[in-house]
Symmetry: C2
């Protein structure tokens, strides 16, 4: 789908506050709210907008520990391992990567003990598990509210 400046302006607003009323978006981009409604629907249908999510403070819901994990998986067992990984509570993101690790994860747990349990009792027991490295997150310095919306791509 081709995006124009209006689409990008709408995306920018919805990335920073997904609950902004269409009527206010309309005011800000100087269009009618019927248009905003129409455009947002089109962006959703095209898969440009994949959803709207509340950003919850992990600490506030009892998730006091988080880590980035590199995993090495035995050749040929990637599929089973990946399918199993996503089922673990606490596994938040699963990425396939080049370089030292085949898979990188972002995981959350209640505390460091929960992290240990997830890593040793669950992930290290997977079929095809070769080795891993856990980088415990001591603090998150910065998190963008959304993707940078570049000035243009294929207009």
């Amino acid at each position: 789908m081709e995006l124009d400046d209006t689409d990008r302006a709408i995306l920018d607003i919805l990335q920073s506050n997904a609950r902004t009323p269409f009527s206010e978006i309309a005011r800000r981009i100087d269009m009618s709210s019927a248009t905003v409604h129409d455009r947002v629907g089109r962006l959703e249908d095209a898969g440009v907008i994949r959803g709207y999510h509340a950003d919850v403070d992990p600490g506030a819901v009892g998730l006091g520990a988080s880590a980035i994990v590199g995993l090495r998986i035995e050749q040929g067992q990637e599929r089973e391992a990946l399918d199993a990984l996503r089922e673990f509570e606490g596994v938040h993101e699963v990425h396939l990567t080049t370089g030292e690790w085949d898979v990188m994860l972002r995981v959350f747990a209640e505390d460091t003990d929960g992290l240990r349990e997830l890593m040793f009792d669950h992930i290290a027991q997977l079929d095809g598990f070769a080795r891993s490295q856990t980088m415990v997150i001591l603090g998150t310095e910065y998190e963008a509210e959304g993707l940078p919306i570049l000035d243009d791509d294929a207009e």
Copy 2:
């Protein structure tokens, strides 16, 4: 802030769809929408809900490349480096970590050339930059819609 089951149910719904009308949340958790309104306001004020963000497909906005980057920073220059990092367009997350790397980043760029530019022309030029490793993301296998809301913490 202490969360009860009602709060957790609301968080769960808003994590999966942040634009769900309060009236529908009310129906689902069997309470009045005034109560939902009240609770959500309280969750926002307490910082449990930090915001609401549209989840935009990176590819659709011209961000065809992404990576996880480990950085080593010279002792004593962490502050300046961290402050500089967050200013780069494309730097999405900055985490302080234990282990092989001091800092881990999630970055986005238009393509691999944009990734190279960000890494070599900007990040590697920072004061205090010691070394880095870039794990290019070939694909994202899974991304949770929100944090796991555990059954209880400190009720």
